[in-house]
């Protein structure tokens, strides 16, 4: 019964970003597994207790949707069908910031929950104590809930070294998030959007479509979105503003530090290099989300339970959904970074 259910969901999953629109407002999308569990008031086996997923999805999701609808009316925005479109429409408009953050939080939450299945083994929920800090890391190779698709496994190994290394990177990234945030497995194209638009890459890339060469892990914080091509330039602007502000303040105080002129020998800082490399305007496709926010584990696992929660999330990842989300892999004979 459950199995066929999952299969149904998988078929629809690739176009999963729909928060259903009725006339000019959104309603909470339907996640079949959660709906079914909620009817029988069952626990999400191996990950959440009934009250937790009820709070996480049904209550919080409902609240986000309500707020979003109110804001849309208030700001007289005509909502598009697709939540993704709404995000890219509002991301660069400060006056619509609340609409943006509500829609992106909703998108992230939905994406995370849709990528989960029930674990094979039950887990007894308990508030873990401070002994968790001293827990010795498991040094064995990952054996539970590994993806079955050979092509996908191969791509993972090519990008991260091995499945174990991938799991380690994913869970470490999630564990390191201090506040609200999500860790993503994403597919990264070889070239940026802007270079696709300027015809330069037409030499190598006839269709002018981004080609996906490697998988990577990234974090977003609060209501952040994965896709670089729509958020590109935001951080750069922010940094420029901050720097200008700093200089103005120093001028006022008369404590301005003499800037050394950039000569031709100037190598640039690590930050600058990182900046141009990491935020490089690429159309990134999300494949798997791991929500590492406190609200996800505080109720069932306690303050010290983050590691255990993340281990459990790994056991609940529905790899068949992730495989459905995969773009076609492009294996280049040579790479241009």
């Amino acid at each position: 019964m459950l199995k066929s259910h999952i299969c149904n969901r998988v078929l629809r999953a690739p176009t999963a970003f729909r928060a259903v629109r009725a006339v000019s407002s959104y309603t909470l999308p339907n996640i079949h597994l959660l709906e079914e569990l909620n009817v029988n008031k069952q626990d999400f086996k191996g990950l959440f207790s009934h009250s937790t997923y009820n709070q996480l999805w049904f209550q919080r999701g409902e609240k986000l949707i309500e707020e979003l609808n109110e804001l849309l009316i208030e700001n007289q925005v005509n909502p598009p069908n697709n939540l993704n479109e709404l995000i890219s429409l509002t991301i660069n408009k400060p006056q619509l910031q609340k609409i943006y953050s509500n829609s992106s939080l909703l998108f992230n939450l939905q994406f995370f929950l849709e990528g989960l299945k029930e674990a094979n083994e039950t887990y007894e929920f308990q508030q873990l104590n401070e002994g968790e800090i001293f827990r010795n890391p498991d040094i064995t190779e990952v054996s539970s809930n590994i993806p079955q698709n050979e092509a996908f496994k191969d791509w993972l190994s090519a990008s991260f070294g091995s499945i174990t290394e991938f799991k380690n990177l994913l869970l470490n990234s999630a564990k390191a998030i201090k506040g609200d945030g999500t860790t993503w497995l994403v597919a990264q194209p070889n070239v940026s959007e802007s270079s696709l638009k300027s015809n330069f890459t037409g030499l190598f890339n006839e269709s002018n479509e981004p080609k996906y060469t490697k998988l990577s892990v990234m974090n977003t914080y609060n209501a952040g979105v994965v896709d670089d091509s729509i958020r590109s330039g935001q951080l750069f602007k922010l940094q420029q503003q901050k720097k200008a502000k700093l200089v103005m303040e120093q001028e006022k105080e008369g404590t301005q530090v003499k800037q050394t002129p950039e000569t031709e020998n100037y190598l640039g800082t690590v930050e600058e290099a990182e900046f141009t490399h990491s935020f490089s305007d690429k159309k990134i496709i999300p494949l798997l989300a791991v929500d590492a926010s406190l609200r996800n584990y505080l109720l069932d696992y306690g303050v010290f339970g983050k590691q255990q929660y993340l281990e459990n999330v790994w056991n609940c990842v529905n790899w068949s959904v992730v495989e459905q989300r995969l773009p076609p892999r492009f294996i280049a004979n040579f790479t241009i970074e």
Partner: protein, 247 residues
């Protein structure tokens, strides 16, 4: 009582005193020394002076001997005095670990301890410690704990400790990278890194020095040029003379 110079005979003398009744009770060390008597006379006797004073004046070597030779001064049987080398497995593990992980040396380490017994506050049934950062020493101590408290042999214990260390180090590095990124996203600006700041501080002095150095260099060059001009004149005259001669 005559002052006794021969410390090695202390046992004989004490037993004689006991026999004669001069000492009534056996000293506490008596049995111990009797069981483990000193196997050699540890007192050093200035032999040659004794010899020379009682030697037959006819057989005496030419001139009086006033000091001992190097050979005679050299400590004989110095193995008895040498402090034995202390050997620990921990040291070998430390050597091995730091040889394989040389970059671990580049991490700063606090060597000051208040009581000198910080290690006793650690519980090595786990790798993470409250009062000690993760480093090579953690691997050594954890290996020793595993060796004593689990069925693993030395190599297995070391590998277990080492891989636990790798996992924790990866986690630690990710923590710092993410908090940096996180604060960047919340608006933090890192105008200069620590290294860059150092270079900037240094640059102020380098600039001053550059001006000074330029002056001195021009001055030195000027003197050097005038000197070469003089010497050129001198060589020229020699050559001219030579030419004249050859002609």
């Amino acid at each position: 009582m005559k002052i006794q110079s021969q410390a090695a005979t202390v046992l004989e003398r004490t037993s004689a005193y006991l026999k004669s009744g001069l000492l009534k009770n056996k000293p506490v060390w008596f049995d111990v020394v009797a069981n483990h008597p000193p196997d050699r006379d540890l007192t050093r006797v200035p032999k040659t002076l004794l010899n020379s004073s009682y030697q037959d004046p006819m057989n005496r070597v030419k001139g009086n001997k006033t000091r001992l030779s190097d050979q005679e001064l050299r400590t004989k049987n110095n193995k008895a005095h040498r402090i034995p080398k202390l050997k620990f497995v921990e040291d070998e593990l430390r050597n091995l670990f730091y040889k394989r992980h040389p970059w671990e040396f580049s991490r700063p380490k606090v060597l000051i301890e208040n009581e000198g017994n910080d290690n006793t506050q650690c519980d090595w049934s786990h790798m993470v410690q409250f009062n000690k950062p993760l480093d090579g020493e953690s691997v050594v101590q954890r290996t020793m704990w595993l060796l004593k408290n689990s069925n693993r042999d030395l190599f297995e214990s070391y590998d277990q400790a080492r891989f636990e260390f790798y996992r924790l180090r990866m986690e630690e590095e990710m923590q710092s990278a993410v908090s940096r990124e996180e604060s960047g996203m919340f608006g933090a600006v890192f105008p200069t890194t620590n290294l860059q700041h150092g270079v900037q501080q240094e640059q102020v002095f380098v600039d001053d020095w550059a001006v000074l150095a330029a002056e001195k260099t021009t001055a030195r060059r000027a003197t050097a040029i005038s000197k070469t001009a003089e010497s050129k004149d001198a060589t020229k005259s020699i050559f001219e003379e030579g030419e004249e001669r050859s002609v």
